[in-house]
């Protein structure tokens, strides 16, 4: 399995042949995934609008999907792609329920801010 295409990761002298993109090192993709995940996490912590917080969670899920697919390519089997597929399915279910909850809260409180829904504190 290993060593089919012996290219060093991130090696700048990598010969870029026909399928250059698919044989590009895994590290740039993982770094991009880490950056996107961090941006999503900061968004969850700083934004006050529940919908935007939710979008940032989606961004984090997508970033992890990118990492899964990159590792799938790096290891040469499709299990990572299956995992990413399941993440997408669960994310779809989560979005449906989450947005319904946000709408219900908005209907009763006329506000979509995450700070306003603090009744459980008391």
């Amino acid at each position: 399995m290993m060593g089919l295409i012996p290219l060093a990761v991130g090696d700048p002298t990598t010969p870029t042949a026909a399928s250059s993109a698919s044989q590009m090192g895994a590290t740039p993709f993982i770094v991009l995934s880490a950056i996107l995940f961090t941006i999503g996490a900061v968004g969850v912590l700083t934004r006050r609008n529940a919908i935007v917080v939710f979008m940032c969670v989606e961004l984090m899920l997508n970033a992890s999907n990118l990492a899964l697919i990159t590792f799938s390519r790096a290891n040469g089997n499709l299990d990572g792609q299956i995992a990413a597929f399941f993440v997408m399915v669960v994310a779809a279910a989560e979005v449906v329920v989450g947005l319904a909850i946000i709408m219900t809260i908005f209907r009763t409180r006329r506000s979509a801010s995450v700070d306003d829904a603090s009744l459980l504190k008391y």
Binding site: L4, I5, P6, L7, V9, S19, A21, S22, Q23, M24, G25, P28, F29, I30, V31, L32, I35, L36, T38, A41, V42, G43, L45, T46, N49, I51, V52, F54, M55, C56, E58, L59, N62, N65, I69, T70, R73, A74, G76, L78, Q81, I82, A84, F85, M88, V89, V90, A92, A93, V95, V96, V97, L99, I102, M103, T104, F106, R110, S111, A112
Partner: protein
């Protein structure tokens, strides 16, 4: 390779802009940019099936759902800048930066080893190969997701459903209510003035002008008033005199030219 280096900055910029834009709709559109770019990255990485799923499920279904909810919740959905916990935003950004730097540095220093590539694994086509694994090794997880999806659909219906307390208001009820309001508070029982009447524009954000030249506030949708995008109708008419002069001047010069 080129695709990655073109898309990566776009994605990072769009994701960062998501944090800074004030309106939820703009965030949703920026998220669409990130997701479509991600789909292209999946295609680059020999995952054509997930490329299609990403476009259809994420940008097609999930983002449309987001946009629908933003439109429903809408109006006051702009973020408040008041901090509930003091210094929370600053610390969140600091910790986020720390986390990001550690993560990126750590990941960049790890050697992932040689990239095998999916040429062998995708031998019989990506979709058949995924189907082979999905319906053998992961078949139990796959069947479980169907239960999850049904639960989610039922849950969303239960949560978004609103019970009707009391009978539906008919047209006769509404008319009687209007007359009661008129008797009690003197509220005008007739239809409201439409926007733009007697004003320079007939756009929905231009209030109607009353006979004394002031704007009629009830001619404007409450939503627009809450957003603060209502035009000042009397102000729109201030340049009428200048325009009239211009027209007259043009007429005079034309006559002189003759």
């Amino acid at each position: 390779m080129i695709g990655f280096w073109l898309l990566a900055p776009v994605m990072v910029l769009a994701a960062l802009a998501m944090l800074f834009v004030r309106k939820a709709v703009h965030s949703a559109l920026l998220l669409a940019v990130v997701m479509i770019s991600l789909a292209v990255l999946y295609a680059i990485q020999d995952a054509p099936f997930l490329f299609a799923v990403q476009i259809i499920v994420y940008t097609g279904a999930i983002l449309m759902l987001f946009l629908f909810v933003v439109m429903l919740v809408g109006v006051d959905a702009s973020d408040s800048v008041v901090e509930t916990i003091r210094g929370q935003r600053l610390f969140a950004i600091l910790i986020g930066l720390l986390f990001g730097v550690i993560l990126v540095l750590g990941v960049a220093q790890v050697s992932v080893g040689t990239v095998t590539g999916l040429a062998a694994a995708n031998d019989g086509g990506n979709v058949p190969e995924i189907a082979k694994i999905l319906f053998t090794k992961y078949v139990f997880a796959f069947e479980t997701t169907s239960a999850l999806l049904i639960t989610a659909a039922v849950g969303a219906m239960v949560l978004a459903h609103r019970e009707r307390f009391g009978p539906k208001q008919t047209q006769a009820d509404l008319a009687a209510q209007r007359m009661r309001d008129y008797a009690a508070t003197g509220k005008h029982p007739g239809p409201l003035p439409p926007p733009g009447v007697f004003a320079r524009h007939n756009a929905v954000d231009t209030p109607a002008l009353l006979p004394d030249g002031s704007a009629a506030p009830e001619s404007i949708s409450r939503v627009l008033a809450a957003r603060g995008t209502v035009k000042n109708a009397p102000e729109l008419a201030t340049d009428v005199a200048r325009l009239t002069d211009d027209v007259e001047d043009a007429g005079d010069s034309e006559e002189a030219g003759r």
